[in-house]
């Protein structure tokens, strides 16, 4: 089970790899679309990479609820096996 910090770190690495955004810019309070300029399709790439990395399922209907990095961290943490 990854801790909140580990998930944030891992997610930041994914966002960096997929969207080329600096790891240190990926903070809990940042909005994916507004602050990080992650568009809806890039968001799908982030989600699929996160599913693989953290062993969670993030269905399509949940993706729209993950507006901030913190939302994604919370979702991943509470859905880990």
């Amino acid at each position: 089970m990854a801790t909140q910090e580990e998930i944030l770190q891992g997610l930041a690495e994914i966002v960096n790899e997929v969207a080329g955004i600096d790891v240190e810019d990926v903070q809990s309070d940042k909005s994916f679309t507004e602050d990080l300029d992650v568009d809806s399709l890039t968001m799908v790439e982030v989600v699929v990479a996160a599913e693989e990395k953290f062993g969670v399922k993030i269905p399509d209907e949940e993706v729209k609820n993950l507006s901030t990095v913190g939302d994604a961290v919370t979702y991943i943490q509470s859905h880990q096996d």
Partner: protein, 334 residues
């Protein structure tokens, strides 16, 4: 003891003998689209790779476009219309429930010895048609088969839908499939995932118009994120199986011609497939938009014409779309 009946005798193998396309005359740029929807050229380009698309005029009907593409494919194949034993058309924009578009096109083409029917496999339609054509040639049901993908998706586009108005285009692509001494079309890998039936479809079915006459015409709608995820990730194992079944690896390819759905899907597939950099990839979507069943033959024709892919080279085709349905196969280019 019942009497013996005869089985048909087919060709040892089948291959694509010629391909032809028709691009309608009206070029519609992103700037023109943005006069209607609140968007920008940059927004559309980064999300889809589309710079412009072709929209048919009133005269450029699905039949007219089919005939033009078919004529070019027959000429390229060196096959006469009367030699055609089967015409298969894939379209979702022949706006008559019956009869089929194929029956009309076969007659106007002079393919008077051909069986003719339409299939409904959306953006995977061309690859489905190719599989049927191969089976008909090898099974002896037809010596030569004409496969056409044709769409006027502009007829089913809601110009006020900010998520789809810029995606779709019109056009036709055709291929003549015939007998071959050597394998020219690999085994098809195909399937349907009806659990995602709602992912792409019409805003409402035609019968709704019986009760409600003030709601205009139906349009195509799509759950973009759901389709992107499915196409970008679940189609990669399908493509890999098509390579395996053909007995080749991605290294051996001379071209990768996926359905031109979205440049981002193509890029995601290339990455996940680990496609070698030397393999040219169809990117016709930039100038043609997403033309559903017509996109693969149109892209194939362009790659051959521009010398991007070699005649006689080996190409991986994969179509995927509403259903959700998919089909992939390796082919030898005509």
């Amino acid at each position: 003891m019942p009497v013996d009946i005869k089985s048909p005798a087919g060709a040892p193998h089948a291959r694509i003998l010629g391909v032809g396309g028709y691009r309608p005359s009206r070029v519609v740029t992103n700037e023109q689209i943005c006069q209607v929807i609140d968007s920008t050229d940059e927004w559309i380009t980064t999300r889809t790779g589309i710079k412009e698309r072709r929209w048919a005029t009133a005269e450029e009907t699905v039949a007219v476009m089919s005939l033009a593409a078919a004529g070019k494919a027959l000429a390229a194949a060196g096959v006469e219309a009367e030699q055609i034993g089967l015409v298969v058309i894939s379209t979702v924009t022949h706006l008559a429930q019956t009869p089929s578009l194929a029956a009309m096109v076969a007659n106007e083409l002079g393919a008077l010895n051909a069986a003719a029917f339409d299939i409904s496999a959306a953006c995977a339609g061309f690859c489905h048609g190719l599989a049927l054509a191969q089976d008909a040639v090898r099974g002896g049901s037809a010596e030569y088969v004409l496969v056409i993908g044709v769409e006027r998706l502009s007829d089913l586009t809601d110009m006020n839908d900010r998520s789809t108005a810029f995606i779709f285009g019109d056009g036709a692509g055709a291929a003549v499939v015939g007998p071959s001494e050597t394998p020219g079309i690999g085994p098809v890998v195909w399937g349907a995932d009806g659990a995602q039936y709602e992912a792409i479809g019409q805003t409402f079915n035609w019968d709704v118009l019986r009760e409600q006459t003030d709601i205009g015409f139906p349009a195509l709608r799509m759950n973009g994120q759901q389709v992107f995820r499915w196409a970008s990730y679940q189609m990669v194992p399908v493509a890999k199986r098509a390579l395996e079944k053909a007995g080749i690896s991605a290294e051996d390819l001379d071209a990768f011609i996926p359905h031109q759905a979205n440049m981002r899907i193509t890029d995601a597939m290339i990455k996940a497939l680990k496609l070698p950099e030397h393999v040219p990839v169809a990117r016709d979507i930039a100038r043609t938009g997403n033309t559903s069943a017509a996109s693969i033959p149109l892209a194939m024709e362009r790659m051959l014409e521009e010398g991007e892919a070699p005649h006689g080279g080996v190409a991986l085709l994969i179509g995927f779309g509403a259903g959700l349905v998919y089909a992939a196969q390796v082919v030898v280019l005509p």
